[in-house]
Each structure stands twice: as C-alpha cells, then as structure tokens.
Amino acid sequence: SQLAEENPWALSVHEGESVTVNCSYKTSITALQWYRQKSGEGPAQLILIRSNEREKRNGRLRATLDTSSQSSSLSITATRCEDTAVYFCAASSSFSKLVFGQGTSLSVVP
C-alpha cells in the first residue's frame, strides 16, 4: 500500500481558475514535499513543509499540512497553461526513505 497518495487522479481546469490537489499519508512524517513533473522532464520540488508547519507559500502555490488527519493540500491560484503537469506529494519519516505518491495529472486549458 502507498505511504502517500494524491487525489483526484486527474483534473482539468480553465486558465485563471484555482485548483487544489490533496494528499493523504499513512504514518507519522517529518516532512512532506510537493513536486511537479512536466511532460518529458524530471520532477522538480515546489514546496517542502515540515511536520511542525501548517502552511507554506511559494508564489501562486500554497501548501497546507494537517498532521491530525494525516493530509496535505496543494493549491494553485490563477492557473496558467504551463501549470499543466503531474503533481506528486512525497512523505518522509524518520524510519523510511522519501516515498512518492502516484501523482495527480492536472490539465490547464485555455
């Protein structure tokens, strides 16, 4: 079973709209990271949020972390076509290596 899992599996929004990707994880973590992977490229980190943090921002991106429900979310405001990508959450704990979820495929259409 997956240590980290994103949902939904896929979604599509129109340019300019906001969108949220959710992540659930199954154990006590030290940090949760969000990565973005565009077609033909390797993943690139967007945000790292540690277990003692509740929210982190990076430009149009906002990540939240709720350790009580073992969940995280990544919100993107004012989406652009270039935000089209697969978004992964990755959980790390003191006893396991970083584990990636299966990803959410986001399409931003004009």
């Binding site: 940090a31 980190q45 970083l98």
Partner: protein
C-alpha cells in the same frame, strides 16, 4: 549550476543485453538515487547511495545493481535486461540522506527492452 545529468536519454536494447545508465551531479551532494517510473505506479526507488561505495537497496532492487566510485557519479547497471525493465529511469541527488531534504532530478533515461 545545479544540475543532474543523465546519459543516455534514450536507449533500445535487446532482451539479455547489458545496460548501463549513467548519472552525474555538480552539487557535491552526498546522496544519490535511482528511481523508475511506470504509468500508474509513480516513482519507485531502486537504489540509494549515501556516498562513495555506500549503497543500499530501495524498494525494487531485483535485477539491478549500482556503482558509485566518485561522489558526483552514480551508475545503474542492468545485467541481462528483461522486457519488464522497459521504463523511464530517473536519477536524483540530495544534500544528504536525512529526511526532509530536497531531491534534484535529472531529465530521465527512457529504456526500451525488446
């Protein structure tokens, strides 16, 4: 320049042939990784290297071996490639193996085994 470079980017091999995938990083990172990515399965960790000649199995090491003789270079070797090893392979590096470190990924090596 912070970069992870993978070679080759594309490779077609026949079943039973040996495969060498190479990865380099210019950040003096201690830790390097090899992942494979298949549709619907996300990124699966094959091997992790904590430094020169300090390698550990990941979640799916069977059929693979690695070599790290210099800190900046990490190789993935498939001895006698199988068709089920057709995949996209990603190398990554991080400052250390501690949890919460950022991973920097290469652009991937697409391997097809026929």
């Amino acid at each position: 320049d912070m970069k992870v470079t993978q070679m080759p980017r594309y490779l077609i091999k026949r079943m039973g042939e040996n495969v060498l995938l190479e990865c380099g990083q210019d950040m003096s990172h201690e830790t390097m990784y090899w992942y494979r990515q298949d549709p619907g399965l996300g990124l699966q960790l094959i091997y992790i290297s904590y430094d020169v000649d300090s390698n550990s199995e990941g979640d799916i090491p069977k059929g693979y071996r690695v070599s790290r003789k210099k800190r900046e270079h990490f190789s993935l070797i498939l001895d006698s490639a199988k068709t089920n090893q057709t995949s996209v392979y990603f190398c990554a590096s991080s400052l250390s193996g501690s949890s919460g470190n950022t991973l920097y990924f290469g652009e991937g090596s697409r391997l097809i085994v026929v």
